[in-house]
Amino acid sequence: MKRFRNIGNPLYSSIAVVVFIIIWEIFTRARDIKEYILPAPSAILNEFITSGDLLLHHSMVTITETVLGFILGLVFAILLSLLMSSFKLFRSIFYPFMILSQTVPIIVIAPLITVWFGIGLIPKLIVCVLVVFFPIALNLTEGLSSYDKDLEELLMCMNASKLQIFMKLKLPSALVHFFSGLKIAAAYAVMGAIMSEWTGAESGLGIFLTRSMKSFRTAAMFADIAIISIFSILLFLLISLIEKKFIKWNVKG
């Protein structure tokens, strides 16, 4: 099995995306769609050239937020899952709050987060973590409880400590689950950073996005979205590659 586990053939994917863009271009031209309804890819590309520096500047900010937020969210998710799968009481107590954390609309509490935590990096990271941690934590928690009970017993016979059972059995068994969670989180991470900019920011792709949107620069807005998408896909691919490294034994049986 040489193929990417679940992404499919990257060649075909690329072709599909290119075809999609070409159809989009033809469609907007043939139907003479106004730019403020749906800008043509060429107009968006043009925006990349004219606003290149600016987009680069904002991208750097958002990427920093994304990377920091993703790492923090990951660490938090792992800690949480460890605690939840180790201590039933902790799980009982924390589970509802984990869900609650996802049901509060970030857009609405963004100003409150700012009020509580001030303006700056901290509220942003909080938002990023809120977005990122959940799919990872949930999948990892599920994964950590779907191991082979017989193997656990065997390890217990070997006098393995809880930590050893965890490291040698539960973690390897949870890997597929864990990476599913990571991939979902990867798809959301950049969006999370964008949302985090709602807590009050001076720069970032989210700022660029709203400014171009509210001043009716639809092509610039799409250029911004394109960058968000590209970053998200890159992050997703990165995770998929790491997954491939880790789950090679899955090749057979």
Partner: protein
């Protein structure tokens, strides 16, 4: 970086060290309503006052809480927002009316032939879904002698006026003359526009306004003084040099549409002060009229003390 670099100060005063850090929170994305603040930052007026002002763009929601809680010392709001805030106990105070008269109104594509509120009958109005908004639309129709129930009020959520009109989903919407109207003209779309402020005194309220909280006014008036001195200077500059002022805004918010900002700035230059004796002045009647309308329509539970909602004390202090 662009925003993170210290503001260049032509007069040589460098910002940063030793200056008091101030957060100023906007109500929306940066736009020509905010030009004075940007001018004050770029031209070093804030620095001269010993202030280091960060201009923060909020998310999609209002940022009034940030000012009420002093997370940001100053910010932009609007009369309705301050009224609501005060009615629920948030100690916001308006320091200046950025624009003397309401420059918003009802816009529609020319071919719809909507030239007076009477023409609203049988037409589709697209708004974001506020009850106050709906009540106001109905009020102007009623005032003009029409039947408010014949207006079809749709919520188009966050959809933009031009987009929604182009695809025929709405006939008219509430727009800002200095922003949406100019944008439409830029894009070669011809509009009819009915100025809300001219329809009724009640609706000629202040939007936007510069706000702070009571705590600053009572315990830190010097700060308010310093801030407003610089802000006022900024807006005066914008009144006199719209093109250069637009450049100041564009320097710190280069993501905006350049043509739109410049034209909007030219339009607003005469609107900031308009017929008032000095820039920023607020009248009690304006506050009272709109507050009473809100109260009569049960949008606030009790009348608020408008005297406490605004102050002119920090204006014209440069003189």
């Amino acid at each position: 970086g662009i925003e993170n670099t210290p503001s260049p100060s032509p007069d040589g005063t460098s910002s940063g060290a030793g200056k008091q850090k101030i957060n100023f929170v906007l109500d929306w994305v940066p736009n020509t309503n905010h030009t004075g603040i940007y001018v004050a930052k770029i031209k070093g007026y804030f620095s001269e006052e010993g202030l280091d002002v960060d201009i923060i763009q909020p998310g999609e929601s209002s940022a009034d809480q940030l000012v009420a809680s002093n997370t940001a010392q100053f910010g932009i709001s609007y009369q309705e927002g301050v009224t609501f805030a005060r009615s629920s106990g948030a100690p916001l105070v308006s320091l200046a009316a950025v624009i003397q008269h309401n420059t918003s109104g009802f816009g529609s594509f020319k071919d719809k032939g909507i030239v007076s509120p009477m023409d609203f009958e049988g037409k589709k109005y697209g708004g974001w879904g506020s009850e106050v908004e709906a009540a106001m639309v109905k009020q102007v129709v009623r005032d003009a002698g029409g039947d408010p129930d014949k207006v079809q009020i749709l919520t188009t959520g966050t959809a933009d006026f031009l987009q929604a009109s182009e695809t025929g989903q709405i006939d008219f919407a509430w727009i800002f003359e200095g922003w949406d109207y100019i944008n439409a003209t830029n894009k070669g779309v011809e509009l009819n526009y009915i100025d809300l402020g001219k329809l009724s005194d009640v609706f000629d309220y202040y939007t936007p306004v510069i706000v702070t909280n009571e705590d600053n006014i009572n315990n830190n008036p010097e700060l308010v003084q310093k801030f407003m001195r610089a802000a006022e200077k900024g807006y005066r500059f914008a009144i006199e040099n719209p093109d250069e002022a637009a450049e100041c805004l564009l320097q710190l918010a280069p993501e905006l549409d350049r043509e739109l900002v410049i034209k909007s700035q030219q339009f607003l230059a005469s609107k900031y002060q308009d017929d008032a004796p000095y820039w920023g002045m607020q009248k009690k009647e304006v506050w009272e009229r709109y507050m009473n309308w809100l109260y009569e329509n049960k949008f606030i539970d009790a009348p608020i003390d408008v005297e406490k909602a605004f102050t002119n004390d920090f204006l014209q202090t440069a003189k």
